[in-house]
Symmetry: C2
């Protein structure tokens, strides 16, 4: 096979993969948003067939030869084509760890487990979900043992979500988080929560919907390329940079819940929308690792969205849409309201300070489960004990405890650490950005475009073109240092303790 033939084969294959991924993404997203409830019955069969096609498309000797040919000709190949071959090989070696029947059956298992988890959570019935969790753990163990039998199972899984992440790296990371933050959290635990009066007002959902459009505009999101849907659990998806979907969930008694969901998912969306045009339709055309993705979403949500400077444009917007509810609220009050810190039960509702401890708890539990040191029946008690020990709260039921997150139901063991890593990456980017521009002046003026341009230049445009760690270190100005993250939190929250 000549290099030219190899590149043509790569192009044909990527075209097919793009189309199958596009259809899968739209069918799944539609299933979560616009589709009628009973549609699940006849969607699984269609998705299973698309995943079979994807598997077949990528597992053939001709493609393998094409990839080998390209990888053997680094000098004669342009950077993008070379990297496409590299990433495609990684992705599909990964897919082909399992034989096709098992791969498709695993898709079916996570599909079923998702439905069972939803019911189990609703009814707070761990026993219902437990048999599926057993199967999922067995399936992930099997995958890890086939992929890299020489490595600990959990390291193999961590690497799926954050390339290169290992327990050897994460143990000291979370150790620093625990050591540095636990004392401050303990002080917040003692402090009574004093939410300002506006937080008990009603914010009609119809007005919140219009407010969301305004917030997306403030964040600089082009509505011609990104729409907002409604789902119980907010998420971001989309097959390419011209077609991104984010979702939120409205509570009329809590305007901040949807507000920060929109800003968070909007951060993911800006990343996807900022990938270079020439990477679209290829395997390089989306965001890189989950950690990098979370570094962007949490950047907008917390570092910008919960900053003192952002209270200025935010309050202006809120007064416009909710003049009665926000009448006498000051910027300082709003800033404190969006940063109320208190150990609590639910990760997705946690404040910025305690959030990383929620993640730490999941990390420790997953590590023990995957190592075989913690069984499925023992999990709920271990969960509750960790919450008591590190956050001083005890879940009254499993719905607010071990069943709260969807991740395990889709086999996402190893996913959670990305949230904490992403937060830490983001702070290091912010520190570097502050040296290069007037971040807070721009934020106070309500102009996030220079910030998005900076992140676009350093992170977004590359998609998966570069090794994630190289892109990250370039944006952070050095390697990951968890104390930069914990220092940021301590500096921000210590004054709030006295407020």
């Amino acid at each position: 096979m000549t290099l030219q033939q190899a590149i043509e084969k790569l192009n044909r294959t990527e075209k097919a993969i793009y189309a199958l991924n596009h259809a899968t993404c739209i069918v799944s997203t539609d299933g979560e948003t616009a589709a009628p409830r009973e549609s699940w019955r006849a969607r699984g069969e269609s998705l299973a067939y698309l995943s079979e096609l994807l598997y077949q498309q990528t597992q053939n000797p001709e493609l393998e030869e094409a990839l080998q040919t390209i990888l053997a000709h680094r000098e004669e190949t342009d950077e993008i084509t070379y990297r496409r071959a590299q990433v495609l090989q990684e992705d599909y070696e990964d897919m082909h760890v399992l034989p096709m029947e098992e791969y498709v059956a695993y898709g079916q298992l996570t599909n079923d487990a998702g439905a069972v988890w939803r019911q189990a959570k609703q009814e707070s019935d761990y026993a219902l979900f437990a048999p599926y969790l057993e199967k999922l753990i067995a399936a992930r163990r099997r995958y890890a043992s086939l992929k890299a039998p020489e490595k600990p199972v959990y390291d193999v899984l961590l690497d799926c979500y954050e390339k290169g992440a290992t327990m050897a790296q994460l143990d000291p990371f979370f150790e620093t988080v625990r050591r540095e933050l636990t004392p401050l959290i303990a002080e917040f635990a003692k402090k009574p929560l004093t939410p300002p009066a506006f937080m008990s007002e009603v914010f009609p959902v119809a007005a919140q919907r219009e407010f969301s459009d305004r917030i997306m505009a403030l964040e600089g999101i082009d509505p011609a390329r990104c729409t907002l849907g409604e789902t119980e659990h907010p998420f971001t998806s989309g097959p390419n940079k011209w077609d991104v979907r984010i979702t939120t969930h409205y509570h009329k008694e809590d305007v901040l819940a949807s507000l920060y969901s929109v800003i968070h998912e909007g951060g993911h969306a800006l990343y996807e929308m900022g990938v270079a045009d020439e990477l679209q339709y290829t395997c390089l055309g989306g965001g890189s690792t989950m950690g990098v993705h979370e570094s962007q979403s949490r950047f907008y949500e917390n570092l910008i969205g919960r900053s003192r400077a952002f209270a200025e444009p935010l309050l202006r917007a809120m007064k416009e849409f909710f003049p009665d509810q926000m009448r006498d609220v000051t910027e300082e009050e709003l800033y404190r309201a969006v940063n109320l810190a208190k150990p609590s039960l639910i990760r997705t509702e946690a404040d910025e300070l305690t959030y990383s401890l929620h993640v730490m708890i999941r990390y420790e539990l997953e590590k023990a489960m995957m190592a075989g040191d913690l069984t499925v029946p023992e999990l709920p008690a271990a969960w509750n004990e960790m919450y008591r020990k590190y956050l001083g709260v005890t879940p009254p039921d499993d719905r607010q405890g071990v069943l709260q997150d969807s991740h395990w139901s889709f086999g996402g063991m190893g996913y959670f650490p990305s949230y904490a890593l992403g937060s830490a990456y983001g702070v290091q980017m912010l520190r570097r950005m502050e040296k290069e521009m007037d971040v807070w002046g721009n934020v106070a003026r309500g102009d996030l475009s220079p910030i998005t341009a900076w992140l676009g230049e350093k992170i977004h445009r590359f998609g998966r073109l570069k090794e994630p760690m190289n892109v990250l270190q370039n944006a952070m100005g050095g390697p990951l240092d968890p104390t930069v993250y914990t220092d940021y939190l301590k500096e921000k929250f210590t004054p709030l303790l006295r407020a």
Copy 2:
């Protein structure tokens, strides 16, 4: 190949076709509803690939042998399997009239033509659309000449939408419509329009959205299987009976526009949702011809929805959602308001009486175009002349004239007659239904379930299992008789002339 092997091949193929059609349907529907505007750029490529897969899936010698084997064993094959082989062969002989490249290119042409038509309509610029119409006419002529060179082109196209329909059958049908209805329409043309006061009230879109849910409930549509979206042009789609989508368009100054769109699309939805479970996932699992489909949608919209009896439950619902706007309105006033008749320019906004003349005009123009007796440059003037002659109105611009409908932009020449045929079929079904149950008592009570059950029994459940004409004649109690339709309209509208 044994019969058993042939059936297995049929099953495998239908599974693949189902999945590809499911994905295509969802991606297209999403493209019309939830997708951001710029998403079109990268959707065409994905849809083209799915259509290539569908083509390949169905064009292979093994499938051909399987179908031949089944069709040669009628006695040993159950009715459903036999019919699946028959319909699949018809569908895919049809698809394979064009070679694959041409088939995919035609999909691309209609995709582009749709975008151009939308712009041309918006700007009322026929010259923009004309080159695409030339290409579409050439493409449809080529298709017809390959499919059945011995037949007139327009007969081949009519058969695509209404199996068995020919000019020989439709010429006298439309002749009857013209002869019987033109005098009455001329009288309505002279009568001044007197819309009641409530029709100039404002009906806020948010309230109309909630009202739509109520109307769907009144029509007996299960919201767990059918959702309502919003698009400029209302439509119905959906890949199976558990997943149907209808859309509407709200105008705050015209509550009736969306109301009757919802009822009309709801009629299509009830048909799809009523097909028997055992036909799902097969080529028999949806509605049969376009004419049968329109017979159902227009049954609910006009025969029920604009009946005197329906004014009772409708007024009750409207007073609940729009108490101020509907305060002093009586049933009789509402009945007259939803049946205001007057020759007008726009087909989709036409009243029940003049509607079939809009269709007749398109039939005559299409017939002349496909026969080569009318050229693309001559079309707008011919359109305007027909409107002047039969409806006494002249379009002030092409947006309200020849550019108003989307059908030609997707190559749908031959589609329009289905609307008039459907209306006529529906009236004959109604006449038979009236002999078998108390139609109007049920409607007045707001209980449409016996009506839907009757249509379900006679029409819906069969999907494509039977020859359409057999199902129709059974439901109508005899062959098509256009005077039953024109008598119905004359009996209904003559008293309204004096009102």
